[in-house]
Amino acid sequence: MAHISVQDVSVDFPIYGAQSRSFKKALFRAATGGMIARDHDRIVVRALDGVSFELRDGDRIGLVGHNGSGKSTLLRVLSGAYEPVRGTVNVEGRIASMLNISLGMDNEATGYENIFLRGIVMGFRPREIEPLVDEIVAFSELGDYIYMPMRTYSSGMAMRLAFAVSTCVSAEILLMDEWLSVGDAEFSEKAKDRLNNVVGQAKILVLASHDESLIEANCNKIMRLSHGELTSTEVIGS
């Protein structure tokens, strides 16, 4: 059973090196972005402000909000990268983060080596990746290119490989920042099926997106963020 509990979470980004004098007012709201506040003479951007929610199996969350409203920060809080300055986050279940699907890959390494590099960054052991290699190579359609350094790949080929590795196993909790679309028309059809499959198997999905139709198609709840605050949670027909 997967479960996410977020209680009164606030995240402040300290901005070092910014001219504190140029912010004459102690508190200042901009049209976009989080709140910029002063805290003991240092400038902080409050990216999340007192956010609380609970997610259980079957929850498919669409995170919406304008640029800088805290969507990506919230995803990174859930992935465990940012520990909040206030509040608690409890995540039960294996997380797969699709925030940056080529993280850990190296242009100078071969495609084959990169499968393992990416796999390790995703939290797998080499012997867990081993049995998946054939399937990944087949799916990415790279053929013998898999033994060539990744710098020889076109950007589309590199993306295919990153996508194939990142989606090779399902996880209980899936975090996504925008939908992944890769490759030419034919491949993108195949990729769509694979992604839908991974998304379908996940018990909890958190998808940040600006695309309303995408969220309607994949989610059953919408959480709206504005200036780092959770302004509304609505259930949508799915």
């Binding site: 992935s79 465990g80 940012y82 993280l103 939290g123 052991r125």
Partner: protein, 260 residues
């Protein structure tokens, strides 16, 4: 918070499928498409030692057969210490992407730096093998302590790397300061000169922690000594170092993601 810091350390150290891979990848990335790879650096250090050995033994009026091995061992271990310190500063900064993405323990990034530099040290050790053909080290049981001495250096590098990594991620001027300090320490530490040359000012070497880290490797290799005082100093450094760094790490570990 201390529990989380201890967990970070434990999980990090046990991630033996992660940090060696990252370390090797970094070396391969740097030397890909070069035929000799890290051995290029080994060659340049070898040439440097071969040139400086005879010259400086005359300048310092010392016997070449004792000065040469001293210089070679000291210099190569110094290279290890210096790069552990300077790269320890940037251990978190260069891993920004990984740190901002997820749950990899921070300890992994420090261990990556340590492992990478041990691999490079192993390349340089080839110089010592060649040197010992001409100036064989005294055979004694103390030689068995050499691998342990390298391990002791690595253990100390872990707390230093955790501390400097955090400090430098927060204050970006520190790496530059540390670099200058390391450069100065090269001349203030008995690398080019022998501690014995200090005469009644020997305290200057005794109070230099870097000297003790050199000495635990140098002692057995040069004159079959255990270097007990230096071992005590090195073990003491590790204990005091971790006692100091653990609370700091517990307090600021979670902030590193915001700093890098």
């Amino acid at each position: 918070m201390l529990a989380k810091a201890m967990r970070d350390l434990r999980v990090g150290i046990l991630s033996v499928h992660v940090w060696p891979t990252l370390a090797w990848q970094e070396i391969r990335q740097r030397y890909r498409r070069s035929v000799l790879g890290p051995f290029w650096l080994t060659i340049s250090i070898g040439v440097l030692i071969a040139g400086m050995g005879p010259l400086y033994s005359r300048l310092f009026g010392q016997d070449t057969s004792s000065y040469f091995p001293h210089l070679a061992v000291s210099f190569i271990v110094w290279m290890l210490l210096a790069s552990l310190i300077t790269e320890g500063c940037t251990s978190f900064m260069v891993a920004e992407g990984l740190i901002k993405e997820g749950r990899m323990p921070l300890t992994v990034h420090v261990l990556r730096v340590i492992w990478k530099n041990l691999i490079i040290f192993a390349h340089h050790a080839l110089i010592l093998v060649i040197l010992f053909l001409f100036y064989p080290p005294p055979l004694s049981w103390a030689l068995l302590l050499v691998p342990l001495a390298i391990l002791a250096i690595a253990v100390n590098a872990l707390w230093v790397g955790l501390f400097l990594g955090m400090l430098c991620a927060r204050f970006r001027d520190i790496p530059l300061i540390i670099q200058s300090i390391v450069q100065v320490m090269f001349f203030l530490t008995p690398v080019l000169w022998t501690p014995g040359a200090l005469g009644r000012h020997a305290w200057a070497a005794q109070w230099n922690p870097l000297n003790h880290l050199l000495e635990i490797v140098r002692g057995p290799l040069l004159d079959g000594r255990v270097a007990a005082t230096s071992w005590a100093a090195v073990i003491g450094m590790a204990l005091v170092g971790f006692a100091f760094v653990l609370p700091v790490f517990a307090r600021f570990r979670a902030r590193v993601a915001y700093w890098v």
